[in-house]
Symmetry: C2
Subunit: 81 residues, 2 copies
Amino acid sequence: MTFAVQVKVMPLKELLDPQGKAVMGGLGNLGLNAIQDVRIGKNISLQVEANSADEARAIAEQAAKKLLANPVMEQFEISVQ
Amino acid sequence: MTFAVQVKVMPLKELLDPQGKAVMGGLGNLGLNAIQDVRIGKNISLQVEANSADEARAIAEQAAKKLLANPVMEQFEISVQ
Protein backbone atom coordinates (compact mmCIF):
# COMPACT_ATOMS: atom_id res chain seq x y z
CA MET A 1 0.00 0.00 0.00
CA THR A 2 1.09 3.53 -0.64
CA PHE A 3 0.72 6.12 2.09
CA ALA A 4 0.88 9.88 1.65
CA VAL A 5 3.14 11.22 4.40
CA GLN A 6 3.73 14.89 5.15
CA VAL A 7 6.93 15.95 6.87
CA LYS A 8 6.84 19.51 8.21
CA VAL A 9 10.34 20.87 8.89
CA MET A 10 10.49 24.17 10.79
CA PRO A 11 13.37 26.20 12.20
CA LEU A 12 13.75 25.70 15.98
CA LYS A 13 11.80 28.24 18.06
CA GLU A 14 15.00 29.32 19.84
CA LEU A 15 16.67 30.41 16.60
CA LEU A 16 16.24 33.52 14.50
CA ASP A 17 14.61 32.95 11.14
CA PRO A 18 16.06 35.63 8.83
CA GLN A 19 13.99 34.46 5.84
CA GLY A 20 10.83 34.84 7.91
CA LYS A 21 11.92 38.28 9.12
CA ALA A 22 12.53 39.40 5.52
CA VAL A 23 9.10 38.18 4.44
CA MET A 24 7.51 39.96 7.41
CA GLY A 25 9.16 43.18 6.25
CA GLY A 26 7.76 42.61 2.76
CA LEU A 27 4.26 42.01 4.13
CA GLY A 28 4.52 45.25 6.14
CA ASN A 29 5.45 47.12 2.95
CA LEU A 30 2.33 45.66 1.31
CA GLY A 31 0.20 47.06 4.15
CA LEU A 32 -0.43 43.72 5.87
CA ASN A 33 0.45 44.96 9.34
CA ALA A 34 -1.81 42.49 11.12
CA ILE A 35 0.80 39.78 10.58
CA GLN A 36 3.09 39.91 13.57
CA ASP A 37 5.41 36.99 13.08
CA VAL A 38 6.49 34.83 10.15
CA ARG A 39 8.50 31.64 10.28
CA ILE A 40 9.32 29.71 7.14
CA GLY A 41 10.08 26.04 6.93
CA LYS A 42 9.66 23.20 4.47
CA ASN A 43 6.76 20.95 3.76
CA ILE A 44 7.82 17.66 2.24
CA SER A 45 5.23 15.35 0.80
CA LEU A 46 6.28 11.70 0.45
CA GLN A 47 4.63 8.68 -1.17
CA VAL A 48 5.74 5.72 0.95
CA GLU A 49 5.20 2.06 0.06
CA ALA A 50 4.55 0.22 3.34
CA ASN A 51 2.34 -2.44 4.94
CA SER A 52 0.87 -0.17 7.57
CA ALA A 53 0.60 3.49 8.51
CA ASP A 54 3.00 2.87 11.40
CA GLU A 55 5.61 1.42 9.06
CA ALA A 56 5.17 4.39 6.70
CA ARG A 57 5.66 6.77 9.62
CA ALA A 58 8.82 4.92 10.72
CA ILE A 59 10.28 5.13 7.20
CA ALA A 60 9.48 8.85 6.98
CA GLU A 61 11.07 9.41 10.39
CA GLN A 62 14.27 7.71 9.22
CA ALA A 63 14.26 9.88 6.08
CA ALA A 64 13.72 13.02 8.14
CA LYS A 65 16.53 12.18 10.57
CA LYS A 66 19.00 11.14 7.86
CA LEU A 67 18.33 13.72 5.16
CA LEU A 68 15.28 15.96 5.32
CA ALA A 69 15.87 17.88 8.55
CA ASN A 70 18.98 19.29 10.17
CA PRO A 71 18.53 18.61 13.91
CA VAL A 72 20.92 21.43 14.87
CA MET A 73 18.60 24.05 13.38
CA GLU A 74 15.30 22.37 12.63
CA GLN A 75 12.56 20.29 14.17
CA PHE A 76 10.19 18.06 12.22
CA GLU A 77 6.66 16.72 12.52
CA ILE A 78 5.26 13.76 10.59
CA SER A 79 1.67 13.12 9.65
CA VAL A 80 0.43 10.08 7.73
CA GLN A 81 -2.76 10.29 5.65
CA MET B 1 -6.67 38.11 19.38
CA THR B 2 -3.72 36.42 17.78
CA PHE B 3 -4.28 33.42 15.54
CA ALA B 4 -1.64 30.93 14.44
CA VAL B 5 -2.11 30.41 10.72
CA GLN B 6 -0.26 27.85 8.61
CA VAL B 7 0.16 28.43 4.89
CA LYS B 8 1.30 25.36 2.97
CA VAL B 9 2.75 26.25 -0.43
CA MET B 10 3.40 23.31 -2.79
CA PRO B 11 4.54 23.12 -6.41
CA LEU B 12 1.61 22.46 -8.77
CA LYS B 13 1.00 18.76 -9.45
CA GLU B 14 1.38 19.30 -13.20
CA LEU B 15 4.94 20.61 -12.83
CA LEU B 16 8.20 18.77 -12.29
CA ASP B 17 9.80 19.30 -8.89
CA PRO B 18 13.57 19.01 -9.47
CA GLN B 19 14.37 19.59 -5.78
CA GLY B 20 12.07 16.72 -4.83
CA LYS B 21 13.60 14.48 -7.49
CA ALA B 22 17.10 15.23 -6.17
CA VAL B 23 16.04 14.41 -2.60
CA MET B 24 14.42 11.18 -3.80
CA GLY B 25 17.76 10.21 -5.38
CA GLY B 26 19.51 10.95 -2.09
CA LEU B 27 17.01 8.83 -0.16
CA GLY B 28 17.58 5.97 -2.61
CA ASN B 29 21.33 6.23 -2.00
CA LEU B 30 20.65 5.95 1.74
CA GLY B 31 18.72 2.71 1.13
CA LEU B 32 15.25 4.19 1.66
CA ASN B 33 13.75 2.67 -1.48
CA ALA B 34 10.23 2.50 -0.05
CA ILE B 35 9.84 6.22 -0.74
CA GLN B 36 8.48 6.52 -4.25
CA ASP B 37 7.82 10.20 -4.68
CA VAL B 38 9.01 13.37 -3.00
CA ARG B 39 7.64 16.86 -3.49
CA ILE B 40 9.03 19.80 -1.58
CA GLY B 41 7.22 22.99 -0.79
CA LYS B 42 7.16 25.62 1.92
CA ASN B 43 5.38 25.74 5.22
CA ILE B 44 4.85 29.28 6.46
CA SER B 45 3.68 29.87 9.98
CA LEU B 46 2.08 33.27 10.62
CA GLN B 47 0.91 35.00 13.79
CA VAL B 48 -2.06 37.10 12.71
CA GLU B 49 -3.80 39.74 14.85
CA ALA B 50 -7.52 39.60 13.97
CA ASN B 51 -10.99 39.67 15.52
CA SER B 52 -12.01 36.25 14.25
CA ALA B 53 -10.58 33.13 12.68
CA ASP B 54 -12.27 34.06 9.39
CA GLU B 55 -10.60 37.47 9.38
CA ALA B 56 -7.23 35.84 10.13
CA ARG B 57 -7.77 33.43 7.23
CA ALA B 58 -8.65 36.32 4.88
CA ILE B 59 -5.49 38.21 5.86
CA ALA B 60 -3.36 35.10 5.34
CA GLU B 61 -4.99 34.53 1.95
CA GLN B 62 -4.12 38.07 0.89
CA ALA B 63 -0.53 37.54 2.05
CA ALA B 64 -0.32 34.24 0.16
CA LYS B 65 -1.68 35.76 -3.05
CA LYS B 66 0.47 38.89 -2.89
CA LEU B 67 3.77 37.52 -1.65
CA LEU B 68 4.02 33.99 -0.26
CA ALA B 69 3.01 31.88 -3.27
CA ASN B 70 3.69 32.20 -6.98
CA PRO B 71 0.40 31.19 -8.65
CA VAL B 72 2.18 30.27 -11.90
CA MET B 73 4.08 27.46 -10.19
CA GLU B 74 2.54 26.94 -6.78
CA GLN B 75 -0.73 26.29 -5.02
CA PHE B 76 -1.42 27.11 -1.38
CA GLU B 77 -3.59 25.87 1.46
CA ILE B 78 -4.41 27.81 4.61
CA SER B 79 -5.28 26.41 8.01
CA VAL B 80 -6.10 28.51 11.07
CA GLN B 81 -5.50 27.11 14.55
